[in-house]
């Protein structure tokens, strides 16, 4: 077939050109970043990407108003997408490659790819407790953020009146102080001779809390409860805000209408408010669970050697043991599980509420 005719035919569908060039650039960026190519080949890829961009500009210039209008969004997207391809997608690919690589020796800093599935075996067996703890702690923390966050969001949305924005601000403001400092402050608050423990002691609740496994041997700091408490605290706004957004949309008259239709207040709450708040709760759960599952700061500052989470392991393997392959395998497993959760969520709920 005549190539010019082919080009003309493609150019007649500018959205294909735009989409095609964007894909080409993204793949090129990943290829360059993730070292699919190296040496002269990478120069070829770079030239190819340049040609694609020039081709796009050419099509835009030749194609007239309509074509330019069709191509405009792709032009706007390109720089950002290119950046994300290079520094988000390519790294993920590098991570996958690394997770299947093996080290020649202890100080081999550039492990080579060798289908080393053993890294995954190590990640899933040696670090199984950490994975389980991560998801367990993150799950409990998510539940707690719902329990604390829902009443907060509810009161702000329905009882806030004109103070709504101020109350919402109050919820968010503390999270403008440094994450680390907040967590360290919790450490001081929960310390053995700190205020919380002494109040509990004075109230004589130590035994009760110990039997509930919240306190351990008279201490609160460096227990699973402290880690979960820290996670709950640090990610609480991610729950309050989406719930608030979905509650705010509820027309208060709906509740009136339900009560008009002989529903009791609790039934109205259960059948009207809760279902309508569910999208917010789902979005919030995702937004809390994800960072909580990958966190290592809370476990480090508030935990003990038996409360380490997968984040601690990844950090330790990566930044102390220099065991990049195993760290990458753990990262990949974490990413994989969470991505599946996200995809299931977006399939049903879309991407709108996740902002």
């Amino acid at each position: 077939m005549n190539p010019t005719a082919g080009i003309a035919r493609v150019a007649a569908r500018p959205e294909r050109v735009g989409l095609g060039v964007m894909f080409a650039l993204a793949i090129g960026a990943v290829a360059l970043g993730a070292k699919w190519v190296s040496g002269p080949a990478s120069a070829v890829v770079a030239v190819f990407m340049l040609v694609a961009v020039i081709g796009l500009i050419w099509v835009a210039l030749v194609g007239g108003l309509e074509t330019r209008r069709t191509l405009a969004p792709y032009g706007l997207l390109k720089p950002g997408i290119l950046w994300l391809s290079l520094f988000f997608l390519a790294p993920l690919w590098s991570m996958v490659v690394m997770s299947l690589s093996s080290k020649e020796s202890r100080f081999d800093f550039f492990p080579s790819f060798s289908w080393e599935w053993d890294n995954y075996r190590i990640a899933l067996t040696d670090f199984r407790p950490q994975f389980l703890r991560s998801f367990g702690y993150a799950g409990v923390a998510t539940l707690l953020t719902i329990l604390i966050g829902f009443p907060l969001a509810y009161v702000i949305a329905f009882r806030g009146g004109k103070y709504r924005n101020i109350l919402l601000g109050l919820v968010v403001i503390p999270f403008f102080t440094s994450y680390l400092i907040r967590t360290l402050a919790w450490g001081n608050i929960l310390a053995d001779e700190g205020p919380v423990v002494s109040i509990i002691d004075n109230l004589g609740l130590t035994g009760v809390l110990e039997s509930l496994n919240i306190m351990d041997n008279g201490k609160l700091l460096n227990t699973p409860a402290a880690v979960i408490g820290g996670l709950t605290y640090n990610f609480l706004p991610f729950m309050v805000l989406p719930i608030y957004v979905s509650l705010e949309k509820i027309d208060a008259r709906l509740v009136d209408a339900a009560m008009d239709l002989y529903s009791s207040a609790t039934a109205a709450f259960r059948k009207i408010v809760v279902p309508l708040a569910l999208p917010g709760i789902f979005a919030g759960s995702l937004l809390v669970f994800i960072p909580a599952a990958g966190d290592f700061v809370n476990a480090q500052f508030l935990g003990n050697p038996q409360t380490t989470m997968i984040g601690n392991s990844i950090q330790d393997q990566f930044l102390r043991q220099l065991n990049y392959p195993v760290a990458s395998a753990m990262s990949f497993v974490l990413m994989f599980i969470i991505t599946i959760a996200v995809l299931i969520y977006t399939k049903f709920m879309g991407t709108e509420d996740l902002a």
Binding site: E15, G18, M22, A34, K35, A72, P73, Y74, L76, L77, P79, G80, W83, L84, F87, P91, S94, M95, M98, I148, P151, Y154, V155, I156, N165, G169, I173, P174, F176, T177, S178, L180, I181, R182, L184, N188, I189, Y233, L236, S264, A265, T266, L286, I290, P291, G294, F296, G311, I314, Q315, F318, Y324, S328, S331, M335, I338, T346, T351, E352, L354
Partner: protein, 271 residues
Amino acid sequence: MTAFSRRQRFGQRVINGIAGLGLFYIFLPILVIVLFSFNAPKGKFNIKWQGFTLDNWANPFAQEQLTSALWVSLRIALISTFCATILGSLIALALSRYKFKGSGGINLFLVLPLTSPEIVLGSSLATLFINRGVSFGYVTVIIAHIMFQISFVAVTVRARIRGFDWTLEQAAMDLGATPSRAFWKITFPLILPGILAAALLSFALSIDDFIITFFNAGSLVTFPLQIFGASRVAIPPQINVLATMLLIASVSLMVAGTVLGNRRQRKLAGN
């Protein structure tokens, strides 16, 4: 009837009570942080209350390394926020201004960095840099920050300019304005508050980012990394002072933003 309403009022009180406790929970550590910025610790640990002093506030920059770390963070945040705001806003514009093939995929693609655990983002990016033989430092940290800020800005700006009346742009062009004049005179001033809000929030994200930075900083020390380092030795009260200052700064920015936004809204709404 009375029983019913009494139960109802009780239920309301319980909910109010839980909300109040929730607020207390949220503020407790902040109170501690602010309080201990006025502490006069004996020795090097700022843990026990030992007396009120304004010394720490009089010399907030006494800790030279802390101050320089703060500068490093501010500089990184400025550069990365600037770049990410441009890149992210362009994406948001494309997504809200145009209907085009592939926008659904782009939406999902944008959400992914936001829903990936930071430790994965940080370690995978570090893997890339190690593979590619890039030395860690300013450049890598800025690259990393821009990466997670782009998605954030794009999604936030898109949400903020949802409902923007794009016929205004058409109207401007109809009145003889070139596309660029239409953008700078009409669209830009109107979506600027949304962009600024996104930029402010992503600036805050950059300033406070620890996990991703931790993996990609090499021997560069940002403010959170300095705090992390200090936490292994002793947290000087100046950290509380600087944290409180950052808090006050961001709160005033937020309040100013809300007030200005409201006034502007009122102005545009004609009240």
